[in-house]
Symmetry: C2
């Protein structure tokens, strides 16, 4: 393996031009403006000090820029991963043996190492097992939990819990303690953010701005609020009036933090770390592919694992917490014209500057403003459309989505994801374990054989032809045997059974043993077993076994050949 | 649901004749003779007092006789379930809060209730997910562990551990302490059992006995040893010479024992109880089907769940431990001529009599004899053939078997089963997630379309026809997109893509979304998307969505129709 093949950055650095530099620089400024309030907010959402949000937006961006496979993906703290971090960190710190910050960096380290290992093992395909409906359902439910939880800081009260019942209970008992001025500030911020998101863009466009420029412009809304509110808070003494503010944020760059390797902690955090990494990976790949397709750039899932792994490891070593490729930030980066990951490197430099220079100003920032930012951001994640779509399309998809949403809301994010994956795999296996079988007959005047229930076909009492609509494997081997002997029962004239196999793509040892048993049991009843339209790979497998020696009948190339031959024998 | 439909016994009781009575009575005597030493031995294997083996062979047999769906299956303690019980009970009693017997009955209760619930929910299909190679591998590895563990009692030393490394380590340090006389008794017993199993049957047959009679006769060998050794042990004072004996066994029938419902204990035992119940169920169904097929009697997996559940619940309420349908005992019952489950009821009555009358005699029985019985019984379980078969047949099956054996040997029975199930499902999903795709073309002078790599086919540069050899679902939706655009790349003349779907049996929402994206991305490149040979259920699903409105091309009934039409457009 060449070193260069592990560092996609080598690719785009080669032909890097002055134009690229200008485009990337401009995009970096816009993303940075969007990112500063977002990173602070998501750090608080994860239950961590605000500066950890900034730290998670410096080194991880540079690590991804070097190792990631997407040119325009922007990594950093995102809403769902921050919620999952809060949930995991909350449960391990309950014992009091470890502090929040240590648990969060350990989580990032574990996730990062897991992603790198999976990437080196070329396990990128694992992303496929999180179906899109399940991920949508999970994100929708997470969005609801996040929004409800942020009502606490929005009103200046303490709301705890990471499930719907706990949050509602806490809100019910605490909303009467809401702090008036805090709530006013929060509601004004939400109002302004909603106004700029949904009303300002059309207004700007009406005044002649291009759609792209308008949509980038409104992304600065959270920063505009900060610029207005911070001086106001200082001058009016919001903090003295009881409005919770961010408070003192250490100035300077993150120090290298040695990972805290405590075996018990690692074991407790392994599962949440894996789930956060997995969800983050699936989201990143999906965002990366969407953007990549627009510029005909390919995303390599295995390289993506390494890129995200490097980013999370970098986060862990520089006092950050789990990061991933965010949808809105990547879209902004793309729309602002970023050509390469150099934009992310510039963004990281900008955030580093902010950490060096702007932190004293953050002291006066009301937390309610950050809560408002989060609430408006996650409202966009809630997607009820997936429910409508899956309800219309299939009961299996609908069950998976509904269960994912319900379990996430009622029992928390970890169980929610696991349920979604488990249910979708389980339903798929259940469906393939009871596959469709059709008794087929000849369509008049043709060489085609179709389901006798759907078509007027010609059959003979001596021959039973069954088409199997699934690969044969352990989960349906027994079912095949049952279905076949159900059909054979009560047919005294039957002499031949033909298994028509155009949809059998694979056969495993359990299915082979079932075929052996079927062959034997039919022989006891003096019925011959044949097969038709067996595909190449299946035939290869059968030839590696003794089955073809035991088979009482023949393998025919086509169902028609089987039918002609067996009907001929009768005469 | 009629009550009678839940009690299959009502069925065979109706026409019960005098002949049935004689057959069942005879079979019961033979099974009982075989069962007495076996139940004692398996109770000791499970780490429990000997009488619990007898208790597990009374009420559970009656419960299964009423509710089970097999006419000839014989339930009771079996080797693998006893090993699994020992492992589960050993780990929960390590803390000292609960005794062995309580843990074992709780295990039976949990398993019994789970089986009944699964049966009422009609979840009999779960048995299908334990593939035969995995079960064979698991039983082989369990057999090795059981045989090694029994070398301890065979030599009169204490051997602990339920994994190969622990057992070997313990054997290595303890074999020097082997008790001479105990080892001699044990080796003699093994010698006699092996002789009667492998040499006596041919001898008896040579002397004119029928094969069936001979094979039933040798089943009495363990009882013959008992009848010889017990008086010898009493007269020679084996116990005083340091030979471990069974010791005092309470006389009488088991008392009804109220289940011990401790939440912590139930939670700890839930997983092992489920696995014991599942493995037991799979074994029972497989034995029941094998026997049922010989007499054209059907096994209903859902009823079987209820029957086994009732048997385990009965075991729990009468001081027993987990039971299931045993292979060798059921074969003996069948070969001895049992017609119905009345044979099991008689067997239960016989064991009850033994518990009332024979227990004082058991005092002097050397434990080494029981260990010898177990060792010879489990040697028959070890099946290396499955390794040879799967090595020849497929890498996926081989990996599943090897991993199951290795993990069971190295990390214990629970992890072993879970690994087997996980690996076989994982490999199946992996295979379906990267399905086979073939670019097809027309076979000259025919309406058939085949893989261009395997056949000399006719293709045109304007049309790309791809046959998908798998149902489309979330795990392969992304792969389809990748493969398709790999094929489309570098074909400047391409105007039409046809997806040929004879092997697509199902389509889910994720796959539908992938098709929508493919359709869109092809449209951007001015390529039209078509589909051919779409099956009924898939077409129904597509019609429930908006896809057919967005599709740039057409759905053709056959690939030939598509090819004719699209080639016509060119001209």
């Amino acid at each position: 393996m060449r070193v260069a093949s592990l560092i996609p950055a080598a690719d785009w650095l080669q032909g890097y031009s002055r134009d690229n530099l200008i485009n990337d620089g401009l995009a970096a400024v816009i993303v940075m403006i969007m990112l500063i309030p977002q990173s602070l907010a998501y750090a608080l959402l994860a239950g961590l000090p605000a500066e950890m949000g900034l730290y998670a937006s410096i080194l991880p961006l540079i690590a991804y820029a070097l190792f990631g496979s997407s040119r325009t993906l922007s990594v950093g703290p995102v809403a769902v991963a921050s919620l999952m971090t809060a949930s995991a960190v909350g449960s391990v710190t309950a014992g009091g043996n470890v502090d929040y910050a240590t648990a969060a960096t350990t989580l990032a380290l574990l996730g990062g190492v897991m992603l790198i290992v999976l990437g080196l093992l070329k396990f990128g395909f694992v992303a496929n097992f999180l179906s899109h409906p399940v991920v949508s359902g999970f994100i929708t439910a997470s969005g609801i939990i996040i929004a409800l939880g942020q009502l606490g800081p929005l009103m200046g009260v303490s709301i705890k819990g990471d499930t719907l019942p706990h949050l509602l209970e806490d809100l019910g008992s605490h909303w009467v303690d809401a702090h008036g001025l805090t709530t006013l500030i929060g509601m004004c911020a939400i109002g302004f953010l909603l106004f700029s998101r949904y009303a300002l863009t059309p207004l700007l466009m009406a005044s002649g701005m291009s759609e792209r420029a308008a949509s980038l412009f409104v992304r600065a809304a959270p920063v505009v609020i900060m610029v207005v509110v911070i001086p106001l808070s200082y001058l009016q003494g919001f903090a003295e009036q009881g409005v919770p503010v961010v408070g003192s944020v250490p100035t300077g760059l993150p120090a290298f933090s040695k990972p805290h390797l405590d075996w018990v902690l690692l074991e407790e955090l392994a599962m949440p770390a894996f789930l956060i990494a997995l969800i983050g990976f699936v989201e990143s790949v999906s965002v990366g592919k969407t953007l990549g397709a627009k510029r005909r750039q390919r995303i390599d899932p295995n390289q993506e694992l390494i890129g995200l792994g490097a980013a999370n490891t970098a986060a862990a070593l520089s006092g950050g917490f789990p990061v991933t490729g965010g949808f809105s930030r990547s879209v902004v980066n793309f729309d602002a014209g970023a050509d390469t990951q150099m934009a992310s490197i510039f963004t990281a430099a900008g955030i580093a500057l902010a950490a060096l220079l702007l932190t004293p100003a953050l002291y006066f920032l009301p937390k309610a403003v950050l809560a408002a930012t989060i609430i408006v951001a996650v409202l966009a994640l809630i997607d009820w459309n997936i429910l409508r779509l899956s309800a219309r399309f299939s009961r299996a998809d609908l069950s998976a989505v509904l269960l994912t949403i319900l379990v996430t809301l009622l029992a928390g994010v970890e169980l929610g994801v696991l349920t979604g994956v488990g249910v979708s795999i389980g339903l798929h296996l259940y469906q393939t374990s009871t596959p469709h079988f059709a008794v087929v007959g000849q369509m008049p005047d043709s060489e085609h054989y179709r389901n006798e229930k759907r078509h007027d076909v010609i059959t003979t009492p001596e021959i039973l032809s069954i088409r199997i609509d699934e690969s044969l494997y352990f989960a349906n081997a027994a079912y095949l045997e049952d279905v076949l002997f159900e059909e054979v029962k009560g047919k005294p004239d039957l002499r031949h059974v033909v298994l028509m196999c155009p949809a059998v793509n694979r056969i495993d040892l359990s299915a082979l043993e079932a075929l052996e048993r079927i062959n034997e049991r039919l022989a006891e009843q003096e019925i011959t077993l044949h097969m038709s339209e067996v595909k190449g790979p299946v035939m290869d497998a059968l030839q590696r076994s003794d089955f073809l020696h035991h088979l009482t009948g023949q393998i025919y190339l086509s169902q028609h050949a089987a039918d002609l031959d067996l009907r001929g024998r009768r005469g």
